[in-house]
Symmetry: C4
Subunit: 217 residues, 4 copies
């Protein structure tokens, strides 16, 4: 046991637990698409009519994937856990487990009267997810001893700045949904997901840039 | 293999297995909220009417999260496994996997005739969960060789005392439910979950207090 | 990487993958109990009427738990993987993922005309599960280099003998079901699960008995 | 931490995350078989009538299993991750999480008017899964520093060739489905799954062949 310090082991259990939640939520998104094989009309028509389901599935899957990648990266900087870190992480996971629920709501509502409510809730879920992600990171930086020694104040500042935009973007798509643009809000959420997934917009420079690393691919 | 002793490896597999069950149960809570998008009336009304679902979801999520954190902490003291430990751990996991079931029951029943039965079962599930948690720990302390060397009798005594209150609290909320106060019982379960999650009421002092640790955050 | 040989790493990924399947199947058993909150009559009556569900849940949960414990133990003897080992392990996992399905069938059928078919399938699933478990172990012993050096021929012989009884027991409960005793078959499956879980009937002597180990608890 | 270099730790988290998705998707296939216990006629007849479900379950389970084994093997060659690798891996996982969905579609449609659409989609899903698998590997080989030192250009060439056939085979079963042979397409998908699982057709020679290894079993 001497060669594996306890704090490192602790972090790895939190990471693995979080990964399980991310993986289950992502897989349930696919499972939640259900069986549209029963109903009137040919299957092809019914599948095409269910296009909002695929838009919601894709957006939710990519968004949780990005949360996973960034969670992954944060924990290359975090070396120790505290009770507070577990709480913020738990809050993040709680909002992630709600994504399949709000995703199902919006998939069923696009093009109907309820679209505004559902799209608003969907974006609100992302506001809360990204906010709790920021609070998790802020907690780690406020308790300096949780961080790895390689983390400089400049690095912390840059990460703060970059993650800080997340909730603002989703507040914008929330506003679009509430203003009546449910489909526009959904498309913006989808564009944001793809946008955040692109290497150029990731925290690659701040987080992964170590000598010899090739993160552009 | 010389540097990783077999007992340590054994413990880690039990911890990871348990974590998977906790993570799946927590994620299924969100998935189990279902699709209230179909039905009469606007979605917003139907979502607001489903408030017992969110209360049950939040309470169950936080409660399983606390079981996870404490399970996590117990296993910083437990170094080896025995067949008996696997059985008590299995019993704990069985009651945890039933939480999404009783949670669904109570979510559907608040405000109806069946509320008393459902809330009683929900609390009974927590009584059994916390009791099996205590039995797991008692087993480990009765078989001294399962514990890490850093565990002192005073530490064991303090942990016994602190975990011992869990079943008593849930017996109280069970009594409230059976006496007819289903909603009061639910609210008490929710308050208990938040209460147990707060750093001041955790086993931080007994369990995590190692030199240089900052667990107050 | 020098200190962690590749074969050890390979085995650990198979073990973790299998554990995930076991954990998910066990948690889905609880989730699959469904929401009997809707229907005529009071909830308490409907819950009591659903007793075959709890019998099937308990039996399936404990049985998968035992498969997990024994899988766990086999892999303390298996050091390397081969393609064949992955196939037998995959077959075992396939039958395990079918347990929630057959468990649901039997829970819905006890006391109805279809009880014989459902109970027969339930036991047949256990015959196939325990048979593939034996085939996995036989494969490992036929390819001696997969085993750890501490495994003696006498140990292999004893394990063969002990695991060999599993399929025979379940063939018996299958016969009872087919002969018309669906409930008797279910109760026997339940008794077998509890029986196999008791320390005295586990492979403790052959598998865990290392100097200083206390496996009786 | 000195003995476990960060890149190795990074790879292992990606592998474990992917494994979780594979394990959940495989277990949900069993859970998704549903409860055919309700309905007219005896259970045995209804179960026999549901044979396309079992064909789809078996084919999907074995296919995801093969993707898992090969993913497993690829990562014995991949030592480091890049943002691009995470994206390709995420795309692969997205198509894997859709397999329970398309599998359910085809299970419900065989023998009906919609069989052609469903079987076409099922094969299309496999085309996309195997294509993203190839793109993941191509990305790793294009960024040479991601690979382990033991990987020679000849080995890369051989693996390219072997995995390159996957999408072509599934394009063929897609064509058969679209041409009207839904059942033939399903049977071909099943044969391909078994065929790919057999040791002789795996990448055993290129991937696992290390001195003293016995991969033929």
């Amino acid at each position: 046991m001497e060669s594996v310090p306890r704090p490192a082991r602790e972090t790895s259990r939190v990471e693995m637990f979080s990964d399980s939640v991310f993986a289950i939520a992502m897989t349930l998104l696919g499972f939640g698409l259900g069986h549209p094989s029963h109903g009137p009309g040919p299957l092809s028509t019914r599948l095409i009519d269910a296009w909002p389901s695929y838009l919601a599935f894709f957006t939710s899957f990519v968004t949780i994937g990005i949360v996973w990648i960034n969670h992954h990266r944060l924990f290359t900087h975090i070396l120790r856990i505290s009770h507070g870190l577990l709480l913020w992480n738990g809050l993040l996971l709680m909002f992630v487990t709600l994504i399949p629920f709000t995703s199902g709501l919006v998939a069923d509502s696009i093009g109907r009267d309820d679209a505004r409510t559902a799209a608003g809730l969907y974006s609100a879920g992302f506001v809360l997810t990204t906010m709790s992600f920021n609070l998790l990171w802020r907690h780690a930086t406020r308790h300096r001893r949780l961080l790895d020694r390689h983390v400089t104040p400049a690095m912390v500042h840059r990460i703060n700045l970059q993650y800080g935009f997340g909730p603002l973007f989703y507040l914008a798509t929330f506003a679009v949904a509430v203003a009546g643009g449910a489909l526009a809000s959904m498309l913006l959420n989808c564009v944001l997901a793809v946008f955040f997934a692109l290497p150029a917009f990731t925290l690659a420079d701040a987080v992964l840039e170590t000598p010899g690393d090739d993160v552009s691919g």
